[in-house]
Amino acid sequence: MTALIEVAGLAKHFPLPRRGFGPRGAVRAVDGVSFRVAPGEVLGLVGESGSGKSTVGRLALRLLDPTAGRVRFDGQDITTASLRALRPLRRSMQMVFQDPYASLNPRRSVGEAIGEVLRLHGIGTRSERRDRAGALLAKVGLSAADLGRMPREFSGGQRQRIAIARALAVEPRFLVADEPVSALDVSVQAGILALLRGLQAELSLAMLFISHDLSVVEVMADRVMVLYLGRVMEVGPTRTMFTAPRHPYTAGLLAAAPRLDRGAAPAVVLRDEIPSPADPPSGCVFRTRCPFALADCAATVPEPRTVGPDHQMACIRDDVTF
């Protein structure tokens, strides 16, 4: 299947304040990331804080300008497109954020919040927009009667449903969901995930699903990409990644995740913490925490290599299994 969104060699370096007369440093938030998402496909993005996963999401939507690399949407290179040229495409690319308390204007009714997006894209008349907003609310499990209510009248889960309705109002083809259930209670999370999954399938949305929670990514994603210090460690089909990971970092993440049946998890213990992206280790960025690191790992940056169907990883070791 051809990709709807395709990024190649993506990098984002945030410059650090100058200190003295030395060369100016930079936080290498994302470094050499490439991936494709096909229509109707969900790519899960996992990693610890500081891994660059949110930055990747923003770069893919051109909410941030990359330092290097290309972003193509539906075959069109949008890496350097002007804001004016991007505007019609914005309709096709939407985002759902983590905090539903911060992403809705507290002084606007739900109907206004959704109607505004439609108005900005010049869709429909005032009354058509109102009808459409009501239909969208019904689609996300609320009702048209909620149109006049204010965000504060809704729980966190309901607000996230409103944010999803707003993102889908303009019929996007690509959705970035950045930790969409992390701020919600567990009993509410499953409902939001089921909603997103259902809408994604129904609308054949391409989705980049970002989460630090592995069980959430496992249930949502068709393929999973693991980031560490701005670099892709491993990418592959969800089942392969969760049942037969090949990269030590993926195995370590799976081992660390709390689970009720302990038997199934690999026994890889990750020590220490993720280093500063302003001063990443030489060679393989993961080597300082890797239980399997060799002297060679400090010398060269491992290139991603294919280890199975649709399955790549960036590790020089072939001799470890989990």
């Binding site: 610890e48 804080s49 729980s155 889960g157 209670d185 567990v186 009993s187 509410v188 999370q189 499953a190 409902g191 939001i192 995930l193 089921a194 999954r197 630090h212 592995l214 069980s215 959430v216 496992e218 249930v219 949502m220 969800t238 089942r239 969760f242 049942t243 370590g252 993440l253 081992a255 660390a256 995740a257 709390p258 689970r259 009720l260 302990r262 213990v269 990750l270 020590r271 913490e273 993720i274």
Partner: protein, 340 residues
């Protein structure tokens, strides 16, 4: 420190009722909670936001500010090393101050809110030692280094001079644990200590807590919303919903065969995926319908009834008591035997 007998009660909470006086009347956040912690035992309280789990923990040491206008009723009995019993609900404030830190210590979700940003961490640990163990004041600085080593901070001789902002979230939580351990408490209360941390760091902190607890023979009260963490650390679990205990028992038994519909729903709402060869994978997403009640509008009958698949008219008629099933297993469900 005199060795404690390995069993016997450490803390008993009886009919705890904690409310907050507001302009709209009394908000009863905790409504008749009872449980006990034996010496060297780990008990977990699990519940969602608004269940009253944190308020229960805060009530034990009366950690509310004046503006909270908290009203605590019931009894919280602390069994002393010498066999004496003190009720923390009525204990005068100066004596309670003595209990805080020395007998019972607390760590919270957000360590940066508990650390003083303008003092080096070693100084903050040493101060805790000086305050609660004046006889050891002369060695406080050296003891601080040892404590940092105990909580797994590398190069502690150098790190004592670090300020909180120079440390990661995981490191700060280790420092909080070091401060809590400074006075060799007999009970450590850990209120969502890993919620703000990455999974790899969470795993490290969980292992640290389990190791320290075993090495020092302390009791641990672990507050969380995550049943999987409960399974990793707790001997017994107390499940709370809308200010009440709904189920309690040995962790393995409760997780394997819940006897309250809320516990079962909480277990089932965790996302799961079952892989199938040659067929579509099964993705399980089972939310709990509806929402927990606000403290101002709790139902007369079972508080979970509006969301419960087993609820019948009698469940809504009047308050449901905790049923003693067997051993120390309890369920606040009239229909607990329908769940087998």
């Amino acid at each position: 420190m005199p060795a404690e007998p390995p069993s016997g009660p450490l803390l008993e909470v009886r009919n705890l009722r904690t409310g907050f006086r507001t302009r709209r009347g009394l908000l009863q956040a905790v409504d008749g909670v009872a449980f006990a912690i034996a010496r060297a035992e780990t008990v977990a309280i699990v519940g969602e936001s608004g269940s009253g789990k944190s308020v229960t923990a805060m009530s034990i040491l009366r950690l509310f500010g004046r503006t909270d206008r908290a009203a605590i009723e019931g009894a919280i009995l602390l069994h002393g090393r010498d066999g004496g019993i003190r009720d923390l609900v009525t204990l005068p404030e100066p004596e309670l101050r003595d209990v805080r830190g020395r007998e019972i210590a607390v760590i919270f979700q957000d360590p940066s809110a508990s650390l003083n940003p303008v003092f080096p961490i070693g100084e903050q640990i040493a101060e805790a030692i000086r305050r609660h163990r004046p006889q050891e004041a002369a060695h406080a600085a050296r003891a601080a280094v040892e404590l940092l080593r105990d909580v797994g901070i590398a190069d502690p001789e150098r790190r004592v001079a670090a300020y909180p902002h120079q440390l990661s979230g995981g490191m700060r939580q280790r420092v909080m644990i070091a401060i809590a351990l400074a006075c060799q408490p007999r009970l450590l209360i850990a209120d969502e200590p890993t919620t703000a941390l990455d999974v790899t760091i969470q795993a490290q902190i969980m292992r640290l807590l389990a190791d320290l607890k075993a090495a020092r023979g302390m009791g641990l009260l672990f507050i969380t919303h995550d049943l999987a963490l409960v399974g990793e650390i707790a001997d017994r679990v107390v499940v709370m919903y809308a200010g009440q205990v709904v189920e309690t028992g040995a962790t393995d038994a409760v997780l394997a065969a819940p006897r309250h519909p809320y516990t079962r729903a909480l277990l089932e709402c965790r996302p799961e995926r079952h892989y199938r060869d040659g067929a579509e994978d099964e993705r399980l997403l089972r939310p709990i319908a509806g929402q927990p009640p606000r403290p101002t509008e709790v139902a007369a009958g079972c508080r979970f009834a509006p969301r419960c698949p087993l609820a019948e008219a009698a469940c809504r008629a009047g308050p449901v008591d905790l049923h003693l099933l067997h051993g120390d297993r309890q369920s606040r469900c009239r229909r607990w035997d329908a769940m087998a």
